[in-house]
């Protein structure tokens, strides 16, 4: 039975992964999946409505799942349809996450009033929106870096409420129960200028394509804009009304819950779009599919499984469980690779473009190195380290995705695929390797101090791996840092500017150099190497996140408040581990002598 364990597990996992790859079925009779594939221009790029729904929900409430007050789950796209077409219902869904108790007290609410104590509906917030606005206005002039948690929370909530309110104006006026009828009556339409102007000014989505394909991206317009433009003055030409009728027709069908007319209208619209804008529609359909497959979620589960199997293998069934663990790593790595490649193709960019994708790539790079290391030393150590890093980085990536679309546009200075693919990829590989050396060392410490499972042979092999990875990390972080300097010289005219992110990368290089020099000079031996490599985790996490939290410099993007406490906790845990390894060896449970 033990022999077949790996095989059986692999088959099970493949079946599960296979099931996630199936195209999305529609749970009800509405073609939600088709609606999710409709392309819009938002945040400067074409994306499917499915992405709009998912990223909006992540941003507003920290997860994609919506539970309506009745207790049943609403799919992200169905939620978006309700926001567009039945806002009075969407307003009752608890989709605003509020953690700060003082912010809740603005609304006279307590955590007992919310779903799971933290999620509240627009209807609950509505009566006191003026007060929220006032508080946010008070907080706004304060420098972002020195705002209190309360100030940050009120500003964030106001932004979220404004985003939600604007989303409602995307396809039809939110207070109009039958926009289709109005569109058919020129006199009524002319009298309702105010609604159309609101739609033009507030809409976040440009969904109406130019009448003449292919056109330029900036010729896509919002419904409000295209309806208000005088005949022939914009790219939509006389097509605006026809387009608006499609969206209003979908709205009427959704409100009246008539799946047949909804699906007919939708398939007609999609066929027309695919005929004229095949490339855009095709990419958006793929993106919606990748959203549904969620390769990184599956990969995260597999990495965790790999870690647990590897750790168990040190106590029982080393050969079989070690093998299974490696197999799970292979699967997880393959899925992550597919996910990263899919993102690269959708974005037309190298793998790392922002903090989110750097998390994906650091995990990917570390796991890739572990797959090689594990095949050199088959002792499940590298599998465990890889599983742990892979899992942690994907968790971090998930938290980073909460700030909005993860495929954001690159600012002018960053808009260089050459430098993104050289500097950013190498320096991120350096981060990945430094983390890997640190995590291998953590395994050394935990096994050595807390268990009896670390024997001399394993300890030596671990130390060798750590040393080798530190060399690798020195090389890549140095090259990456230098390439960054060259990029800076090319775009700003200085090789080195002491920017926080540059300094962070330099500190990683220097720290790795210190480790190597101490080791070559005989200043440290095995335990010293391990302790210093764990400190490398602190150095790298500082460079990766800490520097962004300062709120100064050229790289200060993607700051999150929660990340600050996460970083502090991480640093504390690493210091604790260093203290553990410095305990005299007699106190260790493993006897290495």
């Amino acid at each position: 039975m033990r022999k077949d364990f790996t095989l059986a597990l692999s088959v099970l996992i493949l079946l599960w992964v296979g099931s996630t790859l199936l195209p999305q079925g529609n749970s009800g009779s509405f073609d939600l999946s088709g609606f999710g594939k409709v392309p819009v221009l938002a945040d400067g790029r074409f994306k499917p409505l499915d992405t709009v729904a998912r990223t909006s929900l992540l941003m507003l409430q920290g997860r994609q799942r919506v539970v309506e007050p009745g207790g049943s789950t609403v799919a992200p796209v169905a939620w978006l349809l309700d926001v567009f077409y039945r806002p009075e219902m969407a307003d009752t869904y608890p989709t605003f996450r509020i953690d700060h108790p003082d912010v809740l007290s603005i609304f006279g609410l307590g955590s007992g009033n919310g779903a799971a104590g933290v999620r509240f509906s627009f209807a609950q917030l509505q009566p006191k929106l003026a007060e929220l606005d006032k508080q946010a206005d008070l907080a706004n002039p304060v420098d972002a870096a020195v705002r209190t948690p309360f100030q940050r929370a009120v500003i964030e909530l106001r932004d979220h409420v404004a985003y939600y309110a604007r989303l409602k104006y995307s396809l039809q006026p939110p207070d109009n129960a039958d926009f289709l009828a109005e569109l058919g009556d020129p006199a009524r339409l002319a009298a309702d200028q105010a609604s159309l102007e609101a739609m033009r000014d507030f809409s976040l989505l440009r969904i109406v394509p130019p009448a003449q394909a292919p056109g330029r991206p900036d010729q896509w317009q919002s419904v409000g804009h295209s309806l208000l433009a005088p005949q022939g003055s914009d790219a939509q030409g006389g097509d605006a009304l026809r387009q608006a009728r499609v969206f209003a027709g979908l709205g009427r069908a959704w409100r009246n819950q008539e799946p047949d007319s909804f699906n007919t209208l939708l398939s007609g619209y999609r066929a027309d779009l695919t005929g004229r804008f095949g490339a855009i529609a095709g990419k958006c359909a793929w993106e919606a599919y990748v959203n549904k497959v969620e390769p990184f979620t599956s990969s995260m589960v597999l990495y965790l499984l790999a870690f647990l199997l590897a750790a168990t293998s040190w106590l029982r069934w080393p050969a079989q469980l070690g093998k299974s663990s490696l197999r799970m790593m292979d699967f997880g790595f393959a899925l992550a690779t597919v996910g990263i490649l899919a993102r690269m193709w959708l974005e037309d960019r190298p793998p790392v473009t922002n903090l989110y994708s750097s998390a994906l790539f650091i995990g990917w790079g570390s796991v890739g190195l572990c797959l090689i290391l594990e095949r050199i030393n088959r002792n499940a150590v590298a599998s465990a380290a890889g599983g742990l890093i892979g899992f942690s980085t994907l968790i971090i990536a998930h938290h980073l995705s909460l700030s909005g679309d993860t495929m954001e546009m690159m600012r002018a200075v960053l808009d260089s695929n050459f430098w993104l693919s050289t500097h950013v990829v190498t320096v991120t590989t350096g981060y990945a390797a430094t983390f890997l050396a640190g995590f291998l060392s953590i395994i050394y410490i935990l096994r050595g101090v807390l268990t009896r499972s670390l024997d001399r042979r394993t300890a030596d092999s671990l130390a060798r791996m750590v040393y080798g990875i530190v060399c690798f990390a020195t090389f890549f972080s140095f090259i990456g840092t230098v390439l960054g300097g060259i990029w800076a010289d090319q775009s700003w005219g200085r090789f080195w500017g002491w920017d926080p992110k540059e300094n962070g990368a330099l500190i990683i290089v220097l720290w790795n150099a210190v480790i190597l020099h101490c080791r070559w000079g005989g200043l440290i031996r095995q335990r010293g190497l391990i302790a210093m490599a764990v400190f490398g985790n602190i150095v790298t996490s500082w460079s990766w996140f800490g520097t962004n939290m300062l709120g100064v410099g050229l790289h200060s993007y993607g700051f999150t408040n929660a990340a600050f406490y996460g970083l502090i906790t991480f640093v504390a845990s690493q210091l604790l581990l260093i203290a553990l390894v410095l305990l005299p060896t007699e106190k260790w449970r493993s006897k290495l002598a």
Partner: protein, 394 residues
């Protein structure tokens, strides 16, 4: 060899020293990064990197004591450390070639950064569409320009760096019939009409706009979004005596007029200028954003370059990540203002700009060789142990 000399060599020939210096460098860089929130990137460079010691004031006193080595000191210790270690410890051999290359590259990098610190000049060029410019302006340095406008056909300019005013050095120039005597100087000051002040101090100025202006000296700011306004009082002294004390400041944009001996001069404090042996004309400026957002996608200046010797007369497009290198200067697209009608170029003069490229190539090659040797040795040992264990299994 004397024992002191031996001790010195012994001190510098130590890996402990290397490790200690590197750790100190890490601490220095970390502290400097944190301090950027308060001091800004320029202030941090002056305090931490372009210094031998970091000083801290003793609370309650005016004394400052050195508390930490600065960037110059660490660099100055690392350099002999590297050199001595090499000459005393390593022999030239293929096996050590990686280490040699890496460290030579490092020495070059340290020296190159030192040179850049000394030689690099950062200027900017603000230019409107259609305008032609033949000078760039310094970001931080200012000068007092004394412009003889008597002849309607040309101006004759004597420019005095503010640093000389700060050192209170009197300036006597063959083109000027008067002596310029600095009376007071403030690196940064706020100027306000005296009428708006409740009880202003008496003004030092006796001529020009100075008597109507109250001067309030302020601390130098390093914040990226704030500007310093260097301000000073200068007395012009002719053969017959004083022509008056003038208030000069970059905050005063209008020129002050001085007439003497039938000639007319204009006085103005302005950013220091670097005159170019060529002219640049901004033909077009474009600024693209991603549709529906305010994220800049690209900004570009189309420029006509005409050299004084007429050898060059061509059109060039300068955009992000694509600078113009010409005449020992590099022109970078840095920004824009004035509703996309003004393009801002950053102009860098750095004769040693290629040093980092060379040193980095050396280090990269050195590290690749060094770690390649390690990796190769590891795999050879490994296949040897594998072969041995197979033999023992048989």
């Amino acid at each position: 060899m004397t024992s002191t000399w031996k001790a010195l060599i012994g001190f510098f020939n130590s890996l402990r020293l290397t490790a200690a210096l590197l750790v100190l460098a890490i601490l220095l860089i970390f502290a400097a990064t944190l301090d950027q929130v308060h001091l800004g990137v320029w202030g941090v460079q002056e305090k931490y990197f372009r210094s031998f010691f970091i000083y801290a004031a003793i609370r309650g006193t005016a004394f400052s004591v050195p508390i930490f080595p600065g960037g110059y000191l660490l660099g100055a210790l690392l350099l002999p450390n590297l050199l001595v270690a090499h000459f005393c410890r390593f022999r030239l051999s293929w096996k050590k070639s990686g280490i040699w290359l890496t460290h030579i590259g490092l020495i070059l990098l340290l020296v190159g950064q030192g040179l850049s610190g000394l030689l690099q000049r950062d200027n900017q060029l603000r230019i409107d569409v259609g305008q032609t410019r033949r000078y760039t302006e310094s970001f931080r340095e200012t000068e007092l320009a004394v412009i003889d406008v008597t002849n309607p056909d040309y101006d004759q300019v004597v420019a005095i760096p503010s640093a000389r005013l700060e050192r209170k050095e009197s300036v006597q120039h063959p083109l000027l019939p008067f002596l310029i005597k600095p009376v007071a100087y403030y690196p940064n000051a706020l100027l306000r009409p005296r009428s708006q002040m409740p009880s202003p101090l008496p003004s030092l100025a006796t001529a020009g706009v100075g008597p109507q202006v109250a001067v309030e000296p302020s601390p130098v700011t390093y914040k990226p979004d704030e500007t310093n306004f260097p301000t000073g009082y200068v007395e012009l002294v002719g053969q017959e005596g004083s022509l008056g004390v003038f208030l000069v400041s970059t905050m005063i944009v209008e020129r002050q007029v001085v007439t003497y001996q039938g000639r007319t001069w204009h006085l103005i404090m302005r950013p220091e200028r670097d005159y170019l042996p060529f002219t640049l004309t901004l033909l077009k400026f474009t600024h693209d954003i991603y549709p529906g957002t305010d994220i800049p996608k690209d900004f570009a200046s189309t420029i006509r370059l005409k050299s004084d010797d007429l050898r060059d007369d061509r059109e060039i497009r300068i955009f992000m990540n694509n600078p113009l290198r010409y005449g020992g200067r590099a022109f970078y697209q840095a920004g824009y203002s004035n509703n996309d009608r003004t393009s801002v170029l950053q102009v860098v003069t750095n004769p040693s700009w290629q040093v980092p490229y060379l040193s980095c190539a050396l280090i990269a090659l050195g590290l690749a060789i060094e770690f390649g040797i390690h990796l190769f040795a590891f795999f050879r040992r490994r296949s040897a142990t594998d072969a041995a264990s197979q033999k023992s299994a048989v």
